[in-house]
Amino acid sequence: MPEVRAALAIARKELRTLRRYPLQSINTVAQPLYQFLIPSVLLGSTFLVAGRAVGFQASAGTADVSGFLFLGAFVGGQGGAAFWGSAFAFRLEMMSGTLEPAWLTPTRRETFVVGYLLASLVVQVLGGAVLLGIGAVFFGARFFGAALAALPALVLVEVGLVGMSYLVASGVLLMKEANFFVDSTNFLFSAASGTMFPITVMPGLVKVIALLLPTTYALDILRSQALGTRPVLPGWSEYLALAGLGLLAVLAGRWTFARAERRLRRSGSLGQY
């Protein structure tokens, strides 16, 4: 219970800090729109035949390009929360010189990861909901009602994201210059999860990696419920894969994080960046 209270306090503190930077919050919606969604929708328009996405229908199982992409952005944003919001928060604490004092409190180090992720997820889910609204109103995406059926998958994927946060946070703590590491791994994670295209078009090795990511299954369940796309695995096996991989990610993440923490304490480099 004290750890839950601590996680909530950390999340509250993060949200309070975020409130001071309104432009950053606007970018939660604006950045995916300009950097990914609008260029992707316009690229899709270049392939339209008599106003229909015949090619996309063949490869993805739906002609609703906007729906496909906006749902991808929604799940991709939550992945971003694990990478930027949670893992990179350690870097910001390091730079502000507050990481050492925070780690001297009786709160367990692992709780910090969960607290940061919680705050970031709140922002991303709100931003994602705004994005879905924009998709429905301005881009003709059709997904709302049916997408609710995939809510259990969206809740379940958060377990995997906690694991990813631990893994990336370990990398951030050990590196002195983590921007490129977080930026590039987040991009690869998002692309491999199928946020921008169906995993059927991925090259062999990338497809194998995609099938090891919990987000791939969460997004696949969401799309098959909302848009009627062909699922990667049949029936409940997708939920099983999602839960199993999520659990595995948490175990691997916590183990890696504990090792990274031990190494930092031995080398005394917690305050260095």
């Binding site: 432009l23 970018n27 609008i38 260029p39 270049t46 035949v49 490869s59 390009v65």
Partner: protein, 279 residues
């Protein structure tokens, strides 16, 4: 020594200092290998999903873009995005960096020309740009079999030369804006977002509605992307793209003048309010 020679020395010193700084960050160099290749590669995969192996979809792309080389089309569009990103994050934020590090006051106290301070980083980042374009060329050749001959490369270089004042004029203008409003990240996103949405990085301009095409043709990067695609994918010669190059040179000159005027105004504002050291 004449004033012009002194200015040139100050410019080269400012550029050299920026090269030293860039050299200290190996992640920047790693990024120069990663982003120009993987960012467009993801969009190439997306384009394959849109094509879906249907010849009608591929024919639709050919008729709208004028080329069947999907990978080349997308890589060249994103290379200009990368170039703009470098101009905004590099020279565009150089003054702000100096302000944050507390060096800007010292620099302004030197007798060096303000033009050297404003445009010095540009020279340094030009080398990085050429490296990025080289990486894009190699990736296109090795991963997608797009062969670019010496003639095409020379014509592309001419486009780079004609575009340089415009791209870095945007960077320099941005630099003054950042110094005035003291906000980097948000401003980069807004400016880069405008270019990404309108300039045709992933799509041909013809698919935009009329009003958006007017916006697109008022932005220099639209011409840079169009000309890269024309000379590298459709074999156009320099005479065919000459009107575009003239527009680029003209807008480049205008942007550089605007940047110098904006810089002078920002400096006056900062001196008046004593905000040169605030951040």
């Amino acid at each position: 020594m004449t004033a012009a020679m002194l200015d040139l020395r100050a410019l080269s010193a400012a550029a050299l200092k920026e090269v030293w700084v860039i050299r200290r960050y190996p992640a920047l160099w790693a990024g120069m290998l990663f982003w120009p290749v993987l960012l467009p590669a993801v969009y190439v995969l997306q384009a394959h999903a849109y094509a879906g192996g249907d010849p009608r979809a591929t024919a639709a792309f050919l008729s709208r873009s004028g080329t069947s080389q999907i990978a080349g089309f997308i890589f060249l569009g994103w290379s200009v995005y990368m170039w703009l990103s470098m101009a905004l994050w590099g020279p565009g934020t150089a003054l702000r960096q100096q302000q944050v590090q507390g060096q800007l006051e010292a620099v302004f106290l030197t007798p060096a020309s303000r033009a050297a301070v404003l445009f010095g980083p540009v020279v340094a980042y030009l080398a990085l740009t050429l490296w990025m374009l080289f990486v894009v060329g190699v990736a296109l050749r090795l991963a997608f079999g797009v062969t670019l001959g010496a003639g095409e490369a020379a014509r592309a270089l001419a486009v780079v030369v004609a575009s340089t004042p415009a791209i870095y004029g945007i960077g320099a203008l941005f630099s003054s804006a950042v110094l005035r409003w003291r906000e980097v990240n948000g401003l980069v996103q807004v400016v880069r977002g405008l270019f990404t949405v309108f300039c045709g990085m992933t799509y041909p301009i013809v698919i935009l509605p009329g009003w958006a095409q007017h916006v697109a043709y008022s932005l220099p990067p639209t011409y840079v992307i169009g000309d890269f695609r024309l000379v590298l994918l459709r074999g156009a010669n320099l005479a065919q793209v000459a009107p575009d190059l003239l527009i680029l040179l003209g807008s480049g000159a205008l942007l550089c003048i605007l940047a110098a005027v904006a810089f002078r105004a920002t400096e006056r504002y900062a001196r008046g309010g004593g905000s040169l050291v605030q951040f």
